[in-house]
Assembly symmetry: C2
Homo-oligomer: 237 residues x 2
Amino acid sequence: MRVELYNTITELEGVSVQGAAALVIDVLRATSTLTEALANGALAVYPVLSAEEAVRIANSLGRDECIVCGERNGLPIEGFDLGNSPREFTPDAVDRRKLVMTTTNGTRAFIAAQDADRVVAASFLNLSAAAAAVEDAERVVIVCAGKEDRFSFDDTLCGGHLIEKLRASGDRELNDGALAARALARSNKPSAKIFGQVAAGRALASIGLEPDLAFCAQVDRHELAPVMVDRVIRAGG
Amino acid sequence: MRVELYNTITELEGVSVQGAAALVIDVLRATSTLTEALANGALAVYPVLSAEEAVRIANSLGRDECIVCGERNGLPIEGFDLGNSPREFTPDAVDRRKLVMTTTNGTRAFIAAQDADRVVAASFLNLSAAAAAVEDAERVVIVCAGKEDRFSFDDTLCGGHLIEKLRASGDRELNDGALAARALARSNKPSAKIFGQVAAGRALASIGLEPDLAFCAQVDRHELAPVMVDRVIRAGG
C-alpha cells in the first residue's frame, strides 16, 4: 500500500487522486459533525461551498425534509437550522433528515478529493471504521482540510492515527507528509487539552464552543465510515 | 517568544513577516550548500530565481570574481561553474569568491522572507548558530522551502530541531506548524537513513548524489549564521 498525506488542500493541487481511496479529514469540525449526524439517523449530507448554494439545494430537495447547517468563522449562519457543533446533531434533531452543510474548509476538501475511487469522511469519532474502509486499497490519499490553506495540527494528527490503524497491512510506502504525520501520532493522542493549544481549537474556545474540543477528541465513538458518491455523503456500507 | 513555522512557501502567503526574525530552511540543499560555501571563505551568496538572472548578475558583479552555481531537478545547469552539492564548495573552489546561486525552492523561500527584520539561513550544518542568531527576537518565523509547494520532511524536521534549540528562552507560543515540527524533532534525528526515505533525498539518490544526504545531516559542522541583507547573503556577525 502507498499512503500519501497532504496537510492542506493547496498541497493536493496537481496530484491526481484517480484510482485511489481518499480519506477526508476536518476534525474541528466538519467530518466529526457529519459522522455524528449520520450515526444519529441523518439520511445524507450534502456538502456545499456557500450559504446561497445551501438554500438552493435544500429547496430543490424539499426544504421541510432538510436541515440547513454550517458555519462561517465557527458561528451559525443566519436563517440556518443548525450550526456546525456536533453536539447539536442529536437523534431528535436529525433522524430521517437530509443535511445540507456548508463549512469553510471541510467542503473544499471533499471537492478536492471527489475524483478518487472512494471518498471516505474520517475523524477521531470514526477512526477505526474509516481506516477499515480503505484497508484494501493499493493507494490511500489522506486529505487534511487544514485551516485557510495552512497546516492544522488536529487534522494531521488524525491523519497520523489513521496511518497507525492501517499498519497491519504489510509493506507500505509513505510520502513525506504521511511519514511526519505518523511520527506526530506516535507522540500525541487527541485530547481537549491539545486541541486547546491549536489554532482551530483556540478559535472555537474563544467563541464559547470549548466543549466541542472534548467531543471531537473521542476515539471510535461510532462504527461508521461515511462515503461520498456524486457529492452526497451517506452512512456507507 | 512567539514561534511560527510554515511548511511551504504557499502557507506563508498572506502572513506578514515584518518585525520578525526569519529562519529560512532548505536542507536538501540550498541552505546547507551556502552555509558550507560561506564557512569555506566565499564572500557572499546572491540567491536568484532563474539561470538567466544568475548570468546577468554575475556579469554585473564581474564574471571572473563570481562562481555561478545551482541546479534544476538536482542537476547542475549547463554553462554554470558548479552545481548545488555542498561537497563541491571546498575552500579551494570558493575562497574569496562571490556565489550567484539559483535553486528551485531555496531561492523562493529567501524572497518570501525578505521583509523580515532579519533573515537567517538555517540548516543542520549550522543549527545551533542559526538558533542563537534569533534568540533575542520576540517573534521568529521559520520558513521551510518545501519541495514544489509541498511539505518536505527534512525541512520541517530541521525547523523542529531549531525550535528545540530555542527552548531555553522561557515562555513560548507556538503555531500549529511549530507544535508539530517540535514533536517530529523529538522523535527523529537527521541521518542519511531518514533522508533516504523522503522525497528530496530519494530524488538526489536517484541521480547519484546519495553522499549529499550524510553531508547535509551533519549537525553543527559550522558556527555560522548567514544573514541576508538586500538580497545578498553573507557570513553574518
